[in-house]
Amino acid sequence: MDTRHKILILDDDTDWLALCRELFAALPSHPEILTANNAKRALALIETEPVRLLVCDLKMPRIDGLQMLAIVRRRFPELRTIVLSGLEDEDYRARAYALGVDLFWLKTEMQRNSKLFAECLESLLGRDNEPGFRGIQSKSLMDIIQMECLSRTSTVLRITRGALVAKLWIQDGELIDAEADGARGEPAFQRLLAWKSGTFENLPPEPDRERTIQKPVNALLLESAQTLDETANPSTEPASIESASHRKTMWKLAQLTREGAEFVIVVPPPGQGEPEALGTQHFTAYAGWAQRAAEIASCLGDRLEAGPLSHIAGQNLERQVLLLPQGDRTFMVGWPTDAEGNLPDKSRKLVASWDS
């Protein structure tokens, strides 16, 4: 009897299916690979074959990946699922995780890092014999880290918050390294713990990772909790307030320079304080425009039933500006005209780290 695991790959691109079939068949456990180019065929295969893992694309005609995952989660709750998509959009990542997928990978990332992807697949395939529960949970980052360390596991936690990505390396229940926001080691860990929300995923352990954190995780968590507490309840001594404010401004300025942006303006809701700005002196006029533009766009979107406002982009011969609504505030980010890359994503990243 064939005891090999069965992996089903669902993608409407037949060339991609052939490539994946070749790649997955070379896994050390030699799983049996099934392929389907539409959701209907994939569901028929899951019903008739003992499929262990579904690797699903998102962008497909008729039934798309998110619909497929919702069906699978309801009808086949035991089935492990991986999303393999070309869509570099954090909304889709969040929506996929909300549907309970085990992993979300970008196709480009998989091609760049096929070894790590193969390890993730093997790890997921091997987990079916391990006892334990699985599901969707919403815990604080401190709880998640403590759980991983208490259970003495070895893993890499990848934490995503909007456009920001951080990693924690845990080896035999000890935190050995962290990367977040361009920092490494303890500073990265401190920054990461200041994040208010996000999603996390477990990647296979990397035992050869260089150790940069020597302190026990409980000591680090305690220190971070104290720092966060001091930030939330600042000292009333004038010198201390001035120093904290200066440090905060310097940090924000460093972020701005590193990303290559010209300025950031934070516009509060009307009548709720003054705009906060860094990098420009014309912030009162710009903030007025940002507020008005957000109002106009919001009303227009409602009238047209066009969905929520994602962002507004504007440009002239001097610069480009991006307006991002974040809760009840609006962020305006100015970029030079020759700024390259995906400016909405870069602005979101800047705003997310600014707002942490």
């Binding site: 869509l87 007025g288 425009w289 009303c299 227009l300 047209l304 066009a306 504007g314």
Partner: protein
């Protein structure tokens, strides 16, 4: 025929998203349009008015803009300033398909 409509009334119409290009003059009047004639004219004029106001407010803020794009969940509106008026491109964000981008300025 049509007696069900008499009993239950006409079904509420689903608002289609506009697709195409319009040009508006400096007063917000539509000069040309490739948007389906089935799309309410008042809404199209509203788009033109709002876009012109965005450009006007930007000028008041000492930041005159040549182009502005509004990205909604299911629609993108890209407008270019045109001697006080504007040319406005309307791209519905259908399903997961990427939308075309007008060439850079």
């Amino acid at each position: 025929m049509g007696f069900l409509k008499k009993i239950f009334g006409a079904r509420a119409a689903v608002q289609q998203l506009p697709t195409g290009t319009i040009t508006v003059d400096r007063h917000g009047h539509i000069v040309t349009s490739t948007v389906s004639s089935g799309f309410p004219k008042a809404l199209l004029q509203g788009i033109g008015r709002d876009v012109l106001e965005l450009f006007r407010e930007a000028r008041v803020a000492q930041m005159p803009l040549a182009e502005v794009s509004l990205h909604f969940g299911s629609l993108r509106i890209t407008a270019r300033e045109l001697r006080g008026g504007a040319i406005i491109f309307l791209f519905p964000q259908t399903a997961l398909l990427p939308t075309p981008t007008p060439p850079r300025l």
